[in-house]
Amino acid sequence: MTRFWALIDNSGKFNKDHNYTANLRWQLFNTLLVLLTSVGFSYSLGPFSLLAFVPVFLLFAAFISASSQISREWREQTISWWLTVPCSRSELLASKLLGALIRLTKIAGISIVATALIALGWILVKPDIWTMPAISVAALMASKLYILTIIVLPLAMALGMFFAVLMRSRFKFFAPFIIAFVGAAFGAGANYLLPILGKTEVDTQLTLISQIPVFNLSLTAIVLRVGLMLVIAAVILALSSYLLAEQTEV
């Protein structure tokens, strides 16, 4: 096993910590909260509104997951071991990001399956409302949201990591302002740059042909957008590495 993979693997295992799994009641409470919100959403807005709920949930999960990967090293007092592993701060943070991504992939998989099951339940309950064309339109809208989420996900994770490092740095008292500034700057930058890469409405148009969903997506446009977000995430990673190396103390 290479050093970098060992670091990723260890980050992915962070969840197995018995101190956390012991807190079963808290996990059950969260699960119940998500389920009730999902049912509430689907009751008021229709089953496929859940599909919109999941991407938003995933973005929050990405932020929190990446952030907790870092902050737990301090909380669990393993920080001096982690920071004295002889590799660069960028390498350490990148391994944490990938560890968080592994965790997030699991969460995403479970969320999508759970959402699909709840939506299916509504279709069976009200088949007169949820006809094939209606389902197809909703599914297409949701697909668009998922694509958008995948594009923005690296940015949410990088910001989560940046936030965790910032909160341990000497600039922690300015954290709310810095986060707001960084978020606004990158958000505005992304908003400005994204249309240059392709006309959103044309490139990601989703249509129905004979009641069958047709994805009229330009692969190039998606790759470019994901690439752009990865570049922005890499800039945030570099900034976080600097904070961790020069402005943070144990």
Partner: protein
């Protein structure tokens, strides 16, 4: 040759001065004890050597270079009050050490696991405080590095564990001829390990020298300590 050299190092935490124009030099190939009361600046001294904290002023050289993650390839550091990942088993911890530390000697680690009385399949979370300390020490001692930094390796550990840890240090040192720097309050038990000692108080060196010379001039190290800090 010197393993560690510090010139006028100042480190402040807010208004508290942890290291106050600290100047010292630690030779290679010896075991040096860093002794002093709580708050003397011992842990800050160790942290500056591995780059976990940066001085406000002064120059630090570790193995001829400024502290950085690159120098840490040749430095093993056991921090005061640190913990290992509780979800690992002893075997997983050793395997992880082998994967992340370039100079990790797997055979030596396994030998130490056996000699310090740990079970490979035991979960770290289920180990006693003394056993956890032994495991962390193994992860340091199993590295074939030039400099070994041990900050309070005996803190809160029972007598048997302390003896086993000292045994482990002696075993490693006699095989490798490393430079070892140890801070401890257990002077009586660790005294026999030291080639030289540094007494620190309020971020400064108040006395330093070779153990044999100090013993001849002033009696045991424990007595010197009492004389300085009582």
């Amino acid at each position: 040759m010197t393993a560690v050299d510090m010139q006028n190092v100042i480190k402040k935490y807010g208004s508290t001065v942890a290291l106050d124009s600290l100047t010292l030099s630690i030779p290679e190939g010896q075991i040096t004890g860093v002794l002093g009361p709580n708050g003397a600046g011992k842990s800050t001294f160790f942290k500056t050597l591995v780059g976990l904290t940066r001085p406000n002023q002064g120059d630090i050289t570790v193995l001829g270079q400024k502290p950085s993650w690159k120098v840490n390839r040749q430095v093993a550091y056991l921090a005061d009050q640190c913990r290992w990942y509780e979800y690992h088993t002893v075997r997983e911890a050793v395997e992880y050490g082998h994967a992340v530390f370039p100079d990790f000697n797997m055979d030596k680690a396994q030998e130490l696991v056996l000699s310090l009385g740990l079970a490979n399949d035991a979960s770290v979370g289920s180990l006693s405080k003394g056993q956890k300390a032994r495991l962390q020490l193994i992860l340091c001692l199993a590295r074939d590095v030039q400099l070994l930094l041990l900050d309070e390796p005996f803190s809160g550990i029972d007598m048997v564990s302390r003896e086993k840890i000292i045994e482990g240090i002696i075993q490693t040192f006699s095989n490798n001829k490393q430079t070892i720097i140890i801070s401890t309050h257990e002077i009586h038990q660790a005294e026999s390990l030291f080639d030289q000692v540094i007494f620190m108080d309020q971020g400064r060196v108040i006395m330093a020298g070779e153990v044999e010379t100090l013993r001849q001039e002033r009696g045991s190290i424990e007595n010197i300590y009492r004389g300085l800090f009582q």
